[in-house]
Point group: C2
Chain length 250, copies 2
């Protein structure tokens, strides 16, 4: 009887990432130090926070001048008006602004709390933005990691997003390189020989979520490696963003 | 340098599940036949469809008399009025009914397409409903699997749901037994010693999503086992359902 097995592990000991750091080089170093072997088609899931820091996507709050709107929202909800200002600057459209919660559509098209702007694990007095182009970040990391390990790889840049209707955050894929993020089963047959209906699986999001199980939120484990998955090797994270005209909830 | 590793595998060869089948016994049989060892705190993720079939949650469409509302919606969108009628019977509240898509809040509180009613992998002329009480299903499976393997286990009953804003379905946890589904990091410190803010991770949903990577949609792999995770052992899937009064998107 066959089984299909996947193994994943978290990469510990990376240390604090600074603007300009060679993140892929640091990751390769700790993977080697841990004695882990990287094989063909292994997938690296890397937390957005580490990627953003390496890319210098950090804003010093003492450089921010809040708008009147940012001040009003901040005062009404006990928030830092400078942080709210940065959130609004990262926002293409406000989806909900209610009960102290700001759900924004970012310039990338992601819909998430605070437009992905976050001060947890950020140096004091700063906030960290999402990468400017997470697919580009993923692709750059993939090239460097492939060169370091000499094998073909997939890379996902991930972040934890909330969602309607269900409690808790789940890790999702923002940027994707070398992996088709959606697995389209619509041409396939079910066990009774009928065509499967609406069955497109967001594999990249499930990979990002799986990775979080070994990453941990408060420890310095911003990288996970997933081994043993068969997947199609072309695709980008943009395919995971639903077009507004097909969305019933914006 | 330490790494934390998780292994997961899909359980092949289960065969078609019939009402009244001893699903836990069937699962234990194929796991043993595959030569896999089950250890303390391993987690079984079991697809809702198999659980529902074993529980007899199957409706024969020739027994269904569609209401006028079901007929109107079915005619407008090329659907089977009897299937629509079953969906409406499983629905506590319609969340969206637009462009041929019916997003419903089920009697359990889940918000999903078609109230979870599905005819893929259902015997011809039938549809399969969600389990009546997925937590109860998970707990019953857990007791039987623990007895079969002689170790403490966690069980998740999962299904693939769509979500707003992002393309594709992801597998989520409907019923949970022996696992705390939400990991609350709010008391913990970040790397700079500050309290982490809104950081409650939906671990059970990430486990369900991870499991789908080895389950496959069209193959008869409705069970996955996840090994090597440390987790809190008390909890139910109900905790994952956001109360309507805290939801900005209903």
């Amino acid at each position: 009887m066959e089984t299909s097995a996947i193994r994943m592990f978290g990469v510990h000991g990376l240390g604090e990432v600074q603007p300009g750091d060679d993140l892929a080089g640091m990751v390769a170093g700790v993977v080697r130090a841990a004695g882990e072997k990287i094989g063909e088609n292994d997938i690296f899931v890397i937390a957005q926070k580490a990627v953003s820091k390496a890319e210098g996507r950090i804003v010093r709050l003492d450089s921010v001048e809040p708008s009147a709107m940012a001040r009003r929202w901040a005062e009404g909800h006990g928030k830092d008006a400078r942080v709210v200002e940065v959130i609004l600057q990262e926002t293409r459209r406000v989806v909900r602004m209610d009960r102290g919660i700001l759900i924004a559509e970012t310039w990338h098209g992601f819909v998430c709390a605070n437009a992905g702007v976050d001060n947890s694990n950020a140096p004091p007095g700063t906030v960290v933005l999402l990468p400017e182009d997470p697919d580009r970040s993923a692709e750059a990391l993939r090239r460097r990691l492939e060169a370091a390990f000499g094998v073909r790889l997939g890379v996902i840049v991930s972040d934890s997003f909330g969602r309607p209707w269900r409690e808790g955050l789940t890790n999702v894929a923002l940027g994707v390189a070398g992996i088709e993020p959606l697995m389209d089963c619509r041409g396939q047959k079910d066990d009774f020989g009928r065509n499967l209906q609406v069955t497109v699986i967001a594999v990249a999001d499930e990979l990002a979520g799986a990775a979080e199980l070994v990453m941990g939120k408060n420890r310095q484990v911003p990288v996970a490696v997933i081994q043993g998955l068969s997947y199609r090797s072309e695709g980008s994270g943009r395919a995971l963003v639903r077009a507004p005209e097909h969305d019933l909830f914006r």
